[in-house]
């Protein structure tokens, strides 16, 4: 899909053998003594901290296990209703991983990530102690977590442990540890002082100031989000790497493969500009504990002998894949030192498999019915804490009593956090009402004004005004109606597609963080040519073709936005939303609110409602998106609105699903806004329906391209039957200001709602129901719904039987609102017909 890469038959047809190379398994063989002898990063102090961190994690999770099973820990009573997926036995993997990570390295985890959060957090506390730590603790949600840990049990006793007190802590570090453990536990308990105000909970808790990014309760969910974070680091030149901590069983998930494929795109090395050339800074870190919940990927549910083998399927480097013994923190740290170096050289991505063993169940209710007691005992005999403690003693860094001292310290720390988090007077829950709490965190609703922003000189390839498409559009009429009232066609006036292009171009020249990608976005200009003219204007790192990986397209956009960028991504057909179901419905929609309102998520997802392409390429799925809390959903129908609403979406801080219609791209000019499409930049607010045409007898509200058919109907109703129609273009489904509609219905008393979405479960029913509530006494008839049938979309030639046509509106008026004199309905819209059809599942 690019002229730079010639597909040559002589090369393609040449015979040769692909050599998959070698993937190393368990190659590390050093002892702690060996490490200490060298001049490497493993110092006595580091070794003692590794042990301390593993013990804190073990104690923290032991506490959760007791609370969950017995509701008491160290005399503290608490009932925890939510989940607790423990990683007891996997501590070496978590701590070994963080040994070489900086705060700017960002960890994305799974539902079983308490250990990873604590390990990364302890490392960050150590690195940041001093002013930066103090400042971030004071600044986070008004410093509430800090105030609580500071004012309770403040009997600071530094930990001095190991030979020559190798493990020495300061008051600042101790406070930071209390901050970490209390903020984490309050979150796990679902309480407002938690890191995410209790809205994340055990499976999702995160704290970005420590480089701990969202943990994900969808298996493998972090793979593409972390890839998006790596994309941000790569595109924006930000420091650090991204790590996706995902489980062995996530290798069965399509989006994980999509993410690895996305992260390994050859264009990073072949096409991207020199300033941005090179591989993605990401490690796909598979925590292989050998079980999903109970199924075993290796040996049972998949065909591979080690997870690392998957690397060989992704790129010629086999993703530098390696399988490491993660029962030993030193071998994990060793692997991370080597792999992060590869990323820094621009040779990513990397696949790492950390072999560890979960001694506890999947969750406290797990009866371990799928494994032998003997297996658990075997792993307990090589418990990472036991083994590493022994190494410390062998290396002369500690005695048994030193180890016991560290254990006592961990119990003290965890007890303090537990006592505070369990206390219902200190640590309370969010008040939830429609006016308070998380309801106020669904959107960040910020608008950044790009109307007067300076034009970028970097990251663009030619001057904005010299763009060939800009020049071509300049020759066209801005209005879609000439002086005589005749419609000007798309070849002579600005079209819907061009209007979107203008908004996108404006933002690309003013928002340095903006990137756009999706299927065939570059060169082709997007399947429907909306981006024609952008390829010439933008470098590859701002506009590129993605693999056909809808999940990864949306998932990476979420990661990119969480890191601070603004992503404009495209799914081509609306029908492909299903392929990105999790990413749209669980990821894009959720992270603002699940962060307790801390994160912003400016992702603009363009989806195009098809036409004439049959059952899998012509569906309007606005209702699916509108149903999911957390998504703004818009569907502009006119060129004016398309440009203005795209500008608003690209200025905002919220996720927006931006529906477009293929019936409009190249043919639809501006016929409803008398002044046409302004050449200058402007924004149209999201959430406001617009009265296209005033009237007094009947209100018709539509979403999307149905507007034009409703308009035809309105003209016929007026000219033939004297029914004066007020036509409203809904423009936006979420949010939707009912006041415009309410005032109109109050005036007319009659309402028809139209859209190309299938009738059953259509958003129109939500509007109908709500407006009936609000304006019951003003209604002359129940609102009538004009929607597509509850069938599959038939072939192009039969679409008239399926999608709303102008006469459907007349039929609705005639049958459901007021009989028109001399009119004969062509469709049966009577209650009896509805009753009949309902039995067959097509009503």
């Amino acid at each position: 899909m690019t002229k730079a890469l010639m597909v040559r038959p002589d090369e393609v047809r040449k015979g040769f053998t692909i050599n998959l190379g070698e993937i190393k398994v368990n190659q590390y063989s050093k002892t702690l003594k060996d490490e200490l002898k060298g001049k490497g990063p493993i110092t006595p102090a580091r070794a003692m901290r590794i042990y301390r961190d593993m013990v804190i994690i073990r104690e923290f999770e032991t506490m959760l296990d007791r609370i969950k099973k017995t509701q008491v820990y160290e005399g503290i009573n608490y009932m925890h209703a939510g989940p607790a997926h423990l990683s007891i036995g996997q501590e070496a993997a978590a701590v070994g991983q963080s040994v070489h990570l900086n705060v700017s390295d960002h960890l994305f985890g799974s539902h079983r990530s308490h250990g990873e959060v604590i390990a990364k957090g302890l490392r960050a506390v150590e690195d940041l102690q001093g002013k930066p730590l103090q400042a971030l603790m004071e600044g986070y949600f008004g410093g509430e977590i800090l105030k609580t840990v500071e004012s309770h049990e403040k009997n600071f006793s530094p930990l001095k442990a190991g030979a020559k007190d190798a493990l020495k802590t300061t008051e600042a570090e101790e406070l930071g540890i209390d901050f970490l453990l209390y903020g984490l536990l309050a979150e796990i308990f679902g309480k407002e002082p938690g890191f995410n105000k209790g809205m994340g909970g055990s499976m999702h808790v995160f704290f970005t100031p420590f480089g701990v990014y969202p943990n994900n309760a969808l298996v493998g969910g972090s793979a593409d989000i972390a890839t998006g974070a790596a994309l941000y680091k790569k595109v924006r030149g930000a420091e650090g790497i991204a790590i996706a901590n995902i489980g062995d069983a996530s290798l069965g998930c399509g989006p994980v493969w999509e993410a690895m494929g996305f992260a390994s795109m050859a264009q990073f090395n072949t096409l991207w500009e020199d300033s941005h050339r090179g591989g993605m800074p990401i490690i796909f870190n598979f925590m292989n504990n050998f079980y999903g919940m109970g199924g075993q990927p290796i040996g049972e549910t998949m065909g591979i002998e080690r997870i690392a083998r998957a690397g060989s399927g992704i790129n010629p480097d086999s993703m530098h894949a390696e399988c490491v013994d993660a029962n030993n923190p030193l071998s994990v740290a060793d692997a991370y030192a080597r792999k992060t170096a590869i990323l820094k050289e621009g040779r990513g991505p990397v696949l790492l498999e950390l072999q560890c063993y979960r001694q506890t169940g999947h969750s406290p209710s797990d009866q371990s019915s799928y494994r032998e007691r003997e297996e658990i005992d075997l792993w307990r005999s090589v418990d990472p804490l036991l083994e590493f403690g022994r190494q410390l003693v062998d290396a002369g860094l500690a005695t048994e009593s030193t180890l016991a001292e560290v254990q006592a310290y961990a119990t003290r720390k965890v007890s303090k956090a537990c006592k505070l988090a369990a206390d219902e007077t200190i640590c309370t829950r969010m008040v939830l009402t429609p006016h308070q709490g998380v309801s106020q965190m669904m959107w960040s609703s910020e608008i950044e004004d790009f109307s007067k922003t300076q034009v970028l000189t970097e990251g663009v390839l030619l001057k904005e005004e010299e763009n060939p498409r800009v020049l071509a559009i300049a020759k066209k009429s801005r209005k879609g109606i000439d002086e005589n009232g005749a419609v000007i066609k798309g070849n002579k006036a600005v079209t819907y597609g061009e209007a979107i292009f203008e908004a996108v171009l404006h933002h690309f020249y003013r928002d340095p963080s903006l990137v756009a990608y999706g299927e065939e976005n570059r060169d082709w200009g997007g399947a429907f040519a909306v981006y024609q003219g952008l390829t010439e204007a933008l470098p590859h790192y701002r506009l590129f073709n993605s693999p056909i990986s809808e999940g990864a397209i949306v998932g990476t956009a979420v990661g990119y936005a969480l890191e601070g960028g603004r992503a404009l991504v495209e799914l081509m057909y609306c029908d492909f939303l299903g392929r990105a179901g999790d990413e749209v419905f669980n990821q894009m929609a959720k992270w603002q609110a699940m962060s307790g309102g801390y994160c912003k998520l400016p992702v603009i997802l363009r989806v195009s409602v098809g036409s004439k392409y049959g059952a899998q390429h012509s569906q309007d799925w606005t209702a699916l998106c509108a149903h999911i809390p957390g998504l703004k959903v818009v569907f502009p129908a006119t060129p004016y609105d398309a440009k203005g609403m795209m500008a608003t979406a690209l200025s905002g801080s919220d996720p927006v699903v931006f529906f477009e219609s293929q019936r409009l791209y190249s043919g639809q000019t501006e016929v409803f806004h008398p002044d046409g499409v302004p050449a200058d930049y402007y924004r149209v607010p999201i959430g406001e329906p617009r009265i296209v045409k005033e009237g007094k007898d009947l209100t018709i509200l539509t979403f999307g391209a149905t507007l034009y058919r409703a308009h035809e109907a309105a003209l016929e109703l007026e000219s033939k039957y004297g029914v004066s129609v007020e036509l409203i273009d809904g423009r936006s489904l979420v949010p939707f200001n009912y006041d415009v509609l309410y005032q109109s219905v109050k005036k007319t008393g009659k309402l028809i709602l139209g859209s190309d979405a299938c009738e059953r479960g259509s958003y129109l029913h939500t509007i109908a129901s709500n407006i009936t509530q609000m304006a019951f006494d003003h209604l002359d008839a129940p609102p009538a719904i004009v929607a597509a049938h509850n069938w599959i979309v038939p072939p192009a030639e039969k679409e008239e039987d399926f999608f709303p046509q102008p006469w459907w509106f007349l039929d609705a008026y005639h049958t459901q609102i007021k009989p028109l004199p001399g009119y004969t309905a062509q469709t049966n819209r009577t209650p009896g017909e509805m009753l009949f059809l309902s039995k067959y599942g097509v009503a």
């Binding site: 008393g749 019951f776 006494d777 003003h778 002359d780 008839a781 049958t815 007021k818 009989p819």
Partner: protein, 448 residues
């Protein structure tokens, strides 16, 4: 001239028949005087005058069914001129409606066309009048437009707001004085049909003139109450007709069977005499005991639905009250929630209303089980016909001292016979027997 309208006696009533005029034209009536009796689908009710004055004109004679709120009579001063009776649908000439008048006094009556709108719009049926959009209702209320006079233009005749506005607009479109409009609206006169007098403006006199210009039908008079004489053929009163129809329907559709028990009422006698505050009647105790027993055997409280049986959650107990002309069955709603005092008080209120013809339809509908007590007539035992939609009825005989054997000894005890008639489609013999056993136990132990 003031109007007397057919009242709506209960939410569900749409039409009613005047059974008897208790006053005749020329009589003086005062607000609250019984003026006529009506028959709805279940009971006969006495209606009181809503205006005072001389009963000048009876517009709807006895025996004619009209929609509620129809003007049935005019009351005014003795010397006041009658308005145009055409406005009330009264035509001159011969009667064309059936006149179920008493044989002794055959009178000619006019045929009042029920609630016929005088408006130019086509009249609407009572069914269609139900179909009124919320907006139209609101408009009618604020403009004071009588909805029954408005023809609907929506699907199946649904009245839309524009229909109301058009009606009002047509009225308002006529140049008229405020008084003329008021009178016209109140008398249902269509202003568009009134010829204006001086200056093209419709005045009060024009409206009154229009009302008065219609020929008046000869007045019906002398309708005496029927008295029974042997050999005489008595036409059915509406109540008789209903009783006949309902009883036949029940007996012919529901296969009845009967279960009788003897109840020793000694404990009830004792219970009745033990109270200080009030003394319940035996009926109160039997009703209370019946409710208790139904709670244990809810199937008895069921309705046959053709292809299903609906067991009703609440117990609404009907009890037959004999009247001179027939019988009515007022209903104690949710009796399972009532104390014996409640039952005593509420049943007295209902009996009182029944005897005075003041039962409202809501008072005698919704029954789920019924009792009938003929003990007061000295009856020992009888079987009753099920009062549908119930599935059973309890027939109560008199309490009478009888010789019984108890523990091998001979005693005299107050004994009452209870007979349950059951619909065998719903209730089987064993259920009826167990229910009666439970009822007997409650009464014999006075375990209320």
């Amino acid at each position: 001239m003031k109007e007397i309208k057919m009242p709506q006696m209960g939410q569900s009533v749409e039409e009613a028949t005047i059974v008897d005029w208790l006053k005749k034209e020329g009589d003086t009536v005062a607000v609250g005087d019984p003026i006529f009796t009506i028959q709805t689908d279940k009971a006969e009710i006495e209606c009181e005058a809503s205006e005072s004055g001389v009963l000048r004109k009876i517009l709807v004679p006895a025996g004619v069914e009209v929609p509620v709120f129809t003007v049935v009579a005019l009351v005014g001063d003795a010397g006041e001129a009658l308005p145009d009776l055409a406005a009330y649908g009264v035509k001159g000439g011969a009667a064309s409606a059936p006149a179920p008048a008493p044989a002794a006094a055959a009178v000619e009556v006019t045929a009042p066309v029920a609630a016929v709108p005088v408006a130019a719009n086509a009249p609407v049926s009572a069914d269609a009048a139900d179909r009124v959009s919320p907006r139209a209702r609101k408009a009618a209320q604020s403009k004071g437009v009588p909805l029954e006079q408005v023809a609907g233009s929506g699907p199946e005749g649904r009245i839309l707001s524009e229909d109301v506005l058009a009606w009002a607009g047509a009225q308002d479109g006529v140049r008229s004085t405020p008084t003329a409009r008021k009178i016209a609206r109140e008398s249902g006169v269509d202003l568009t049909q009134v010829t204006p007098g001086h200056g093209g403006r419709v005045t009060k006199d024009d409206v009154l003139g229009a009302i008065g210009s219609t020929p008046v039908a000869p007045a019906a008079s002398g309708a005496a109450a029927p008295s029974l004489v042997a050999g005489q053929v008595t036409p059915l009163t509406p109540m008789r007709r209903i009783i006949a129809q309902r009883m036949a329907e029940s007996k012919f559709s529901a296969p009845h069977f009967y279960v009788t028990v003897e109840v020793d009422m000694q404990e009830c006698v004792r219970f009745r005499n033990s109270g200080t505050a009030f003394k319940p009647s035996f009926n109160d105790l039997i009703m209370r005991a019946t409710a208790r027993a139904i709670q244990d055997f809810p199937l008895v409280n069921s309705r046959w639905k053709g292809d299903s049986v609906e067991t009703v959650a609440e117990i609404n107990l009907g009890f037959a009250v004999a009247l001179d002309k027939g019988l009515v069955v007022p209903v104690l709603k949710r009796i399972e929630r009532m104390s014996i005092q409640d039952i005593n008080r509420e049943s007295k209120v209902l009996i009182d209303k029944a005897r005075n013809g003041k039962l409202l339809p809501d008072d005698y509908s919704g029954n789920t089980f019924t009792i009938s007590n003929l003990g007061g007539f000295g009856v020992d035992h009888f079987t009753a016909i099920i009062n549908q939609p119930d599935s059973a009825i309890l027939a109560i005989g008199q309490i009478k001292d009888r010789v019984v054997v108890i523990d091998g000894g001979i005693c005299v005890r107050p004994i009452m016979k209870l007979t349950l008639s059951s619909d065998h489609r719903v209730i089987d013999g064993s259920v009826a027997a167990q229910f009666m056993g439970r009822l007997k136990t409650v009464l014999e132990k006075a375990d209320f």
